[in-house]
């Protein structure tokens, strides 16, 4: 089973499988669910980067999806910018706002930051709903064009599937690179002990702002891509409840585990589609999930000593050993 241990091979296999999946699954509805899953996965990854890797508890992420969505919608619909310009600049815009908000809160304590992100979510909601000349208020912005690149239109579920998959793969690789780099280590150091981190030469405030900004770029891009898929920017999609639900996607999979974010998103995107009662009671389910998981499996499904590892331990597929120490010991 050696190839299973090589994560890179596993990842490539997973991507290839995902590419081949539409050959098997041709149902339009199923494709739609998968497309939404791909996009929300990026949101969960961005939450993981901010909350999981840097310990900044942001409970208003949906606001940044909204910022990216509205920016892209306005540029595409009102100003007739081509998709990729609207889309990419939406990410930059969300990142800039994230940088500003992060900068304003750079000296805030853990709790104040959380409160501010909640407040920011509320403020954005109010703006989306009431700033009619720009956002069209409750009516939202309809007729957002489907994505198109160099004349090729991603106007079917199948075509969009590959765009969304590509988007997820690129974002995943970028975020993974960040987490494994000096930058990622600095983020984690800040999370684990910010005082010790500063004594290692890390400027806490700068890195927190950077973390918030980078995460927000990805959230904004996801929001923008989604709005070009649903073709409608609505002010009712970026509520606090949405933020909490998205947060749970990252928590369920395991904060600090990137594959976990995918798994958590998959479960929370598919479950309400599959089960009507899950949809109706989804916030209660999320509530119970949060309480039970925090007590028994705070690291989520795929985090360290998470549910997944415990199950695998029971089934004795893997022995718990320091795996890669060998690469570095001579």
């Amino acid at each position: 089973m050696n190839f299973l241990k090589d994560r890179k091979t596993l990842a490539i296999a997973a991507v290839l499988a995902a590419c081949a999946l539409p050959l098997v699954i041709t149902d339009e509805y199923a494709l739609r669910v998968l497309n939404v899953f791909f996009i929300y996965s990026v949101v969960a990854l961005s939450i993981n980067l901010i909350v999981g890797f840097c310990g900044q508890l942001d409970m208003g992420r949906a606001a940044f999806m909204g910022l990216g969505a509205y920016w892209s919608a306005i540029l595409a619909v009102r100003l007739h910018f081509p998709f990729f310009v609207a889309f990419l600049t939406a990410g930059i815009f969300a990142g800039l706002v994230g940088a500003i908000l992060g900068f304003l809160c750079r000296k805030s304590s853990f709790d104040y930051l959380t409160l501010i992100t909640i407040g920011f979510n509320v403020v954005c909601q109010v703006v989306f709903l009431n700033w009619i000349p720009v956002t069209n208020g409750a009516m939202g912005i309809p007729k957002v064009p489907t994505p198109s690149l160099f004349g090729f239109a991603f106007d079917t579920n199948l075509r969009f599937y590959y765009l969304a998959l590509g988007f997820l793969v690129v974002c995943y690789v970028l975020i993974e690179r960040i987490t494994k780099s000096k930058l990622g280590r600095a983020f984690e150091a800040i999370r684990d002990d910010s005082i010790a981190a500063s004594y290692s030469g890390i400027n806490i405030q700068n890195f927190k702002v950077l973390n918030f900004a980078i995460g927000s770029v990805f959230t904004g891009l996801a929001g923008a891509l989604l709005v070009h898929y649903t073709q409608y920017a609505s002010p009712f999609n970026y509520t606090l409840d949405e933020s909490v639900y998205q947060l749970q996607m990252a928590i369920l999979g395991g904060l600090g585990s990137l594959p976990g974010s995918l798994l958590g998103t998959l479960i929370l995107v598919v479950a309400p589609e599959v089960s009507r009662s899950f949809y109706e009671y989804r916030l209660v389910f999320v509530g119970f999930m949060m309480v039970i998981m925090m007590i028994y499996w705070p690291n989520g499904l795929l985090g360290k000593a998470g549910v997944g590892e415990r199950l695998i331990g029971i089934m004795r597929f893997r022995k718990k050993e320091p795996e890669e120490a060998g690469r570095w010991t001579k």
Partner: protein, 296 residues
């Protein structure tokens, strides 16, 4: 201009009234925060259960005083349960984990209420109509006076409780250092439970006063009008001190009243939040923070 000053004082009175209600809610919140430094996300939603319990009894014809008392007890007891079952196991598990647990409890409580009562607004009728007193051009409701009195009584009561009773002293000890308090014989678990309970009870009192004031009750009195206001109050007043909580709450009430009266009711929430965000920049610890030097 006479009517201008009247308007101002009217807003002031209204602001003080709503601020007093916020103060009760913020006090309950801050008592918990003071000992565990955790954002009790579920503060509002838990005491909302108490308020709705009172509503339920009221609609069944129970005497208002009993109904409200029952509601207060419900708020107290639910918090005891929640603390023991959900919070205690994760008390020392860092910052993110206990906060998320509280979020979970909040959503469970909120949806329990929604399932039983629904999202509509109900009348909260205790069968007594307040009357109005007039001073010059300013109207003060007797209800507003009662609210102020009740809030002050509670504040004084809590302060005395903390200073004079053994449990109260235990609470103060825990708020400074849990290990030290434990070594000194303070029953930590029991004391923390009681603090949560009192927090819930105060919240129910504040929530019920709110419902009586506006003669209505709906699901939002928990999170939106309770937890969030408590947070806003602690942003202004600082965390960790009851004085800060109360001062912050009153100032919040005044701020809301002024913004509502002079600027806009539509954007009131957004403006207040923006003011608070600005506040965080200038005075990150609030106006009356508890003085603690970090030791490493």
């Amino acid at each position: 201009m006479e009517s201008g000053t009247n308007m101002f004082f009217q807003h002031l009175i209204n602001g003080l009234s709503i601020g007093s209600i916020y103060a009760l809610i913020a006090m309950g919140y801050n008592m918990v925060y003071g000992i565990l430094e955790l954002l009790n996300f579920a503060h509002g939603d838990v005491y909302a259960v108490g308020c709705f319990a009172a509503l339920g009894l009221l609609t069944m014809g129970v005497h208002p005083a009993l109904a409200i008392l029952a509601g207060i007890i419900v708020g107290f007891v639910i918090n005891l349960f929640v603390e023991k079952l959900a919070y205690r196991p994760v008390r020392y598990s860092g910052r993110v984990t206990p906060t998320i647990t509280a979020v979970g409890i909040a959503y469970i409580m909120r949806n329990a209420i929604l399932k039983i009562w629904g999202p509509e607004t109900f009348a909260f009728d205790i069968g007594v109509r307040g009357s109005n007193l007039q001073f010059g051009g300013i109207i003060i409701g007797t209800l507003q006076i009662y609210i102020l009195l009740i809030a002050v009584t509670c504040m004084v009561g809590i302060t005395l409780y903390l200073k004079k009773t053994k449990t109260g002293q235990g609470i103060i000890a825990i708020s400074q250092s849990i290990p030290t308090a434990a070594l000194m014989g303070v029953p930590v678990n029991r004391t923390i439970s009681i603090v949560y309970g009192i927090g819930g009870a105060l919240g129910v009192i504040g929530g019920v006063l709110f419902c009586i004031y506006y003669d209505s009750i709906f699901i939002g009195i928990g999170f939106a009008l309770g937890t969030i206001k408590a947070w806003m109050a602690s942003i202004i007043g600082g965390v960790g001190s009851l004085k800060g909580a109360v001062m912050g709450a009153i100032m919040l009430g005044l701020m809301e009243s002024m913004v509502s009266g002079y600027v806009s009711t539509l954007y009131k929430d957004a403006i207040v939040w923006l003011l608070l965000i600005a506040f965080v920049l200038i005075k990150p610890q609030g106006l009356f923070p508890a003085q603690v030097a970090e030791k490493i």
